[in-house]
Symmetry: D3
Subunit: 227 residues, 6 copies
């Protein structure tokens, strides 16, 4: 359970090499590779198409309409981090814009994942600073209440611990527990190497029904072909 008013300075980040490698596989493959868990809800969308990143989570818990803790989070960013912002109750205000992005980028952050709104999206695209958010909104926020930084948070349906790996692309956002990073990077790589061969077969006209030997189990369940 989260507590308010706390900033944790020392967090254990996932293995850097594994973290960086995970970006190339994408959110879908990584989510499959770790047993189909860890995917944020599908309302989390990139503010512009084509970005594909991975990084270690610095978490922040915000109150609706208040982005004060974003500045506190900025100080905890290390190069290669991705900030993950959760809210204590649903809200779509624009908690993040180009000024904060400038600061985050200067600290080495690669992206922001926020279960709320984001603004200055045209400028953020020019800056090449990707954001996955629940909404785009010009609505400004205040700086009045304490949240926390680097505590476990629930963001878009997934529990995120500080230091976990975040993998985000056009398909969504997957969270990999820090201690699984190396294992999942290997599993994702293995998974992807198998896909090339399958793709070729399917492109040549072979059916999945045959390639995956599905005809028998389907018939067993009672699938009937009629004319």
């Amino acid at each position: 359970m989260t507590t308010l008013g706390i900033v944790k300075r020392n967090i254990i980040r996932a293995d850097r090499v594994a973290t960086d490698k995970l970006a190339q596989f994408g959110s879908a493959t990584v989510h499959e590779a770790q047993g189909r868990v860890g995917l944020m809800q599908s309302y989390m969308r990139p503010i512009y198409a084509g970005a594909k990143v991975s990084g270690t989570a610095v978490t922040v818990l915000l109150h609706p309409g208040d982005n004060w803790m974003m500045h506190v989070a900025a100080e905890q960013i290390q190069p290669g981090d991705i900030v993950v912002a959760a809210l204590t109750s649903p809200n779509t205000d624009g908690f993040f814009g180009d000024l904060l992005a400038t600061s985050f980028q200067a600290r080495g952050a690669r992206a922001l994942i926020i279960d709320g709104g984001c603004r200055d999206v045209a400028e953020l695209q020019r800056m090449n600073f990707p954001v996955w958010s629940k909404a785009i909104s010009a609505k400004g926020t205040i700086k009045a209440t304490l949240g926390s930084v680097n505590i476990p948070v629930v963001c878009a349906g997934v529990n995120v611990e500080p230091g976990d790996v975040i993998v985000a692309d056009d398909d969504g956002v997957t969270v990999v527990p820090a201690e699984w990073a190396v294992r999942i990077a290997a599993a994702a790589e293995a998974r992807e190497s198998l896909e090339g061969e399958k793709r070729e077969k399917l492109a040549s006209g072979v059916l999945g029904l045959d390639m995956y030997n599905m005809r028998e189990p389907l018939a067993k369940l009672g699938l009937k072909y009629i004319d």
Copy 2:
């Protein structure tokens, strides 16, 4: 009413020439031409902008979180078809990705219309395989339960019979009953030829109020101009 566990092999597809012609008119004009019916709900959105297609429907009914019948559907695809996937209850999982798209494309499918989620969207755009879906989601699905292929389905609020024409573009997805295809293609063409003339008049500054003779009926209903 649908039944589960059925694959219908022989379906009567709409007239090919009429089907292919309908793409150019777009979903809005075709929907108007057939009396303002047959339009799927507006939450059905293209995964990338600019695609404009028409084709004959191969239908598939899926259970939430299970895409097994997609492979059964693949075998029923003929060149010029568009797969229309309905769900037995609302769900946004990623039922379709680049491997299935490779298979569908190899069979001659032009697009997928799915009342659920889709993934690998960056790859699908590279492949030039358009999808209209309710959601984009990296969430993988299982292969455990029987649905049906080529039975009537309700997709995004419209009843679709196998063989019906699907017209999809940036404005949405319209369904034309197979037996209406030729008539609607003609009606849409007639409709469009009238639009060019109207467009010119309006561009020159003529008001719709005058062009359509609306002033009198509006006055009759009591419209009052005040200063």
Copy 3:
């Protein structure tokens, strides 16, 4: 409170110079400059990215599924106006397409803001006529009922008076009361000139915590750093 069946011909438009100037600051800065009010709800989205406009509001109140009053509104448009369309109850039909856009553009309108649906979006982008809407839908509308033109309307949560300034970009839509236009244009300009300096500092690695002197008030509220 609105009344139906009224068209007001003479409206007092906001100062032209201030109105035109406001576009460059964008919806977020203008909304902040006037005290964080006047922003439409975040479901109002541009039909294509990159447009940034300001203009004076011509308002129109429509019934669900009926766009007749759009033609009445067209006649009231003057160069530099933006049409703001509200609905008497929520509806996502396609009230606006390329023909109406041709007419609006011929009259000098710069954009449409509609708390409903829009269609022909590919064509509208080609025409360079931006629309901010609640939905994209090919659904056609009828012409059967009276609404009103140039009365106060509530659009996406904001009360808009005819003549008010509309500022719209990728972040959303802000409404500035006509009589505030000059003052807010100045305030927005002042605000923006301060941002350049801040941006530089943040880019150099200075933290917002220090730049805005936040450490003390945060400590006073009880923020605790732990290791």
Copy 4:
């Protein structure tokens, strides 16, 4: 596909005895008995708790904000019917209130199922006239456009043919094709008689795991118990 401007007078209603019998089993059991199909989406809610009805469908297709065809439908009602109202596009206006209910009730209708809004709900409860709707709204509607009566319609995600059986209770609304009514009534009865025995066993503390012999298949799939 639906056509507008049509009223079909002679429809084939499902078997009366089977229709009347289906009410007692409820929407859940009937939906299971026919193979888990035919259930309307879960946003369809009763305007008051406790009603449980079945009847034969008189269908009506309405435009958003227009309830004119409800009066046309009234004439087609026979004792034991349930009116099923679909919309050409999503809308929550109050299409139905106590006056129409008085008329429907006088004609022998047992209920209304509407993929839109309903009003006068306190009065409808006093009248004992149940309604399952998408919304409750005081919003009045106009009488200006033609829809159709007794054509196939899609209501809340299910295709309904005139004459089909409607079964509705606190759990939702299930549609049984007219020609299946007798068979499904028998199947539902059989299903229910089995439930009594199961209920007793479960009440005595027997686990479903044992009663349904689930332990082995779960173990086969790899379920692991840890301490």
Copy 5:
């Protein structure tokens, strides 16, 4: 346009007799009587069924997650008032519970209308203090930011001026401009007296088609009866 940080003490309340009379007609009839305008969106629901009230509006504008201004509003309440709470951006926190209700009730308030969340609903029902809200939520709020009291606000899609009449029941919430109150009370009364006669006729089996002479206009529009 609203301004923050303002409390207006002297407001002109609608005529008391007319205001009190409006409750009996209900939100639907009043909304019709004033030309089908002024109805809040249908997501505004009573926290318990059966309440039916009217009163004069004391308005309050709140920030998401902050209910401080509710206490400021309490002081402005006079017997017969209904508090109308709007938010600067969408939020469902529980801004109101039994303590505030005790205070409001002690001041003579009859109800609360809030475009946000409410809590302690079981207790509020015991106190007989009705609330129409967007959500029920136990989420507590803070007291940190200034809103305003007795300024015009947009609540659930309707512009409300302080002193306007609020009519609320199970069907929803209608707003009557203060200066229209006497006229609308008379119109609603006239409207209702006509309904009794219509109800009797319809109950006796007369069809609306005949009572309202609809057959001819329907035939003119082309309605076709088929067998």
Copy 6:
């Protein structure tokens, strides 16, 4: 992060006395007492009004459309437990009905909290078995895939560990970490004892503005009273 296919048999349940005591304070007070965290999202609603319970969590993770693990969970229930069911992706099917309720009740469960759908709601009310759910749906589910029991799950936005305390009533559902139970029960009790006195003062007409000494801080922030 969750893993699939696991059942944990020995969990550490929160202190029984503290757990049982928490029911009386209700979800709102408990959520405040632990620092305004731990509240599930407000879409979680009781299937009938008036229930108020607390208990220790037995957690279960389900796949969309599959309730198999509910039977596995039943065996892990001990008297005084509340089952908390989370889903791997959003789904509103009816995962729970009267048969499972009979089994859960026989094992000593007090309630079910489910981030999905529930059915047989009339029967559940008769059985006095309360459920808080996201939806009511007659939609049946299958038994085909492995989830897990007694692992940490995210339910309606809150991370729940097996053994945590669940407090649920008409206002919503609050989760108290097992190790905080004793402390929070004391804090909630203290909080509530203060409320009685406040309530009396407010009922006598004292304003919160005075009782809480708010006038000065409001004036400092610039609140202006105008006439």
